[in-house]
Symmetry: C2
Subunit: 337 residues, 2 copies
Amino acid sequence: MKAVGFKTSLPISEEESFIEFETAKPQPSGHELLVKISAISVNPVDFKIRQNSAKGTVLDTPKIIGWDAAGVVEAVGENVSLFSVGDKVYYAGDITKPGSNSEYQLIDERIVGKQPSTLADEAAAAMPLTVLTAWEIFFDRMRLSAERDQNKTLLIIGGAGGVGSIAIQIAKKVLGLKVIATASRPETIEWCQKMGADVVVNHRNLVEEVRGAGFQFVDFIVDFVDNNGYWDAMAELIKPQGHIASITGSAVPVALNKLKSKSVSFSWEFMYTRSTYQTDDMIEQHHILNRVAQLLDEGVLFHTHTHTLHGLSAETLKQAHAQLESGTTIGKWVIKY
Amino acid sequence: MKAVGFKTSLPISEEESFIEFETAKPQPSGHELLVKISAISVNPVDFKIRQNSAKGTVLDTPKIIGWDAAGVVEAVGENVSLFSVGDKVYYAGDITKPGSNSEYQLIDERIVGKQPSTLADEAAAAMPLTVLTAWEIFFDRMRLSAERDQNKTLLIIGGAGGVGSIAIQIAKKVLGLKVIATASRPETIEWCQKMGADVVVNHRNLVEEVRGAGFQFVDFIVDFVDNNGYWDAMAELIKPQGHIASITGSAVPVALNKLKSKSVSFSWEFMYTRSTYQTDDMIEQHHILNRVAQLLDEGVLFHTHTHTLHGLSAETLKQAHAQLESGTTIGKWVIKY
């Protein structure tokens, strides 16, 4: 089968930052599905791994990355019970395994969902990683519920990106929160409004911006941009007893004590925790993807796919990574095979 | 009325570390109750405030601290609706206001509970601060529920102290968790077992101790001893998707990133957040104290009072603080007026 990967970590502008190659089509066993991929999407985790996982070294065989995908089940392992050959599926995969930048891929059925029936393959491929991230933040990390939390306020730092776009929608439509999102350009401001944000503020001078919009404190904050950089602003803006979550990591130690007098909680969300640690509840990702497929089919949520590149190739992956690395992407970029 | 306080922060061994004085009996207004105090208990927050709040200065009038109390309502403000004159009450107070180390005290009715009817005044006075701390950690910060979390594992660092003692009980009896508590002396080990701990381990070499007891990871950790000191051990022991909470503060910045790959959450609990910030939900402390009074009266929970000193005086307060500062106290020390 055809695949795209890399043997060494290079800037995306370099000729060999991605290379095309042939490799054996894998065979499923156990809980694995063999999926014939129809479309993939790119996420920041992709370029972080491309930039760092083979730094200063040359791998013997190219590494296949990229994890969001939509496709069709072509074969199943002997323990598979959730899917059958011919099912259309979508998933965000497992970063400890080979990725989706190839014609076929093996994937554990417990982290796979039924593809939304009303969405084109490219729109379906745009969703899984961001859906799982936002859903896990709200329901598994923060343990929010519409019953307990509706009408409370949520600040989303980075509203127009992939995760921000679906997080705004889930917060509004599923939880009934009042959503303040950050965006700074006319097109990203408009996009956040389209996603359902009640208020859009500039990320610069964040404290003044949020307070200027009429919010002294907010109940919840999610950071999709820079945990260290926004730490002091988040500590200032969070309401007593509030909850902050982040997906971005903190390169330097954090003044955690700034949250103490307010009894604030903080959660990390890393969408690959369940598959990496093979947690007892990893099948929750199957349930989340199915639940969101239903919400997409019912029109409660809508897809965040904004741009399509055509064909699995080193060239399309270079274009997609270069765009994502620019930090200006709105919604999700997809490669349709 | 008689009161005990201090004009300057001194070591507890100094003559003037506490002084007795007379001051005007206060008058209630608004939501305030005037309570005639029958017993008080001491908590670490008391000596931390005594040691630090008047460091290098001499106050014009002595500062009255101490916040746990049991007593009888003697008069009420014009907006009081939850209590009447003659009601027996218990509460942990508000650190922004004068404390309970006096004959009478004003207290906002929304943070006061009905005294458990089956408990002596001194046993009732032992409970409020620790009850509110443990309850808020489990239900408001971690958002645990018996339905969702029973049989999961909880590590309590510091099981034999005031908060640890009631936290073990609430975790076992109300939430159905499996509880591992730390204690190192024969008498504290026995006490933790009496509180209901399933397993007691030594806090030294904590990772090895917990793993030696058969737990590779634990779902939840609460720290009542030293957040900075146990950070690395907690990061190692916490289960993927687990939750850590602490009441102790962190003097130095924290390597928060150590929790990221596991998608771990962290909560601060400070029992005085609600009263300090006058949060919309401060009446929750009234509900928590009433709920726990019922659980104490039903025998589901039992009091943690272990030692009584007699009479409100500088001498009894010095004894109580000296004991608490030693770091070896089991359960709760009380002063009966």
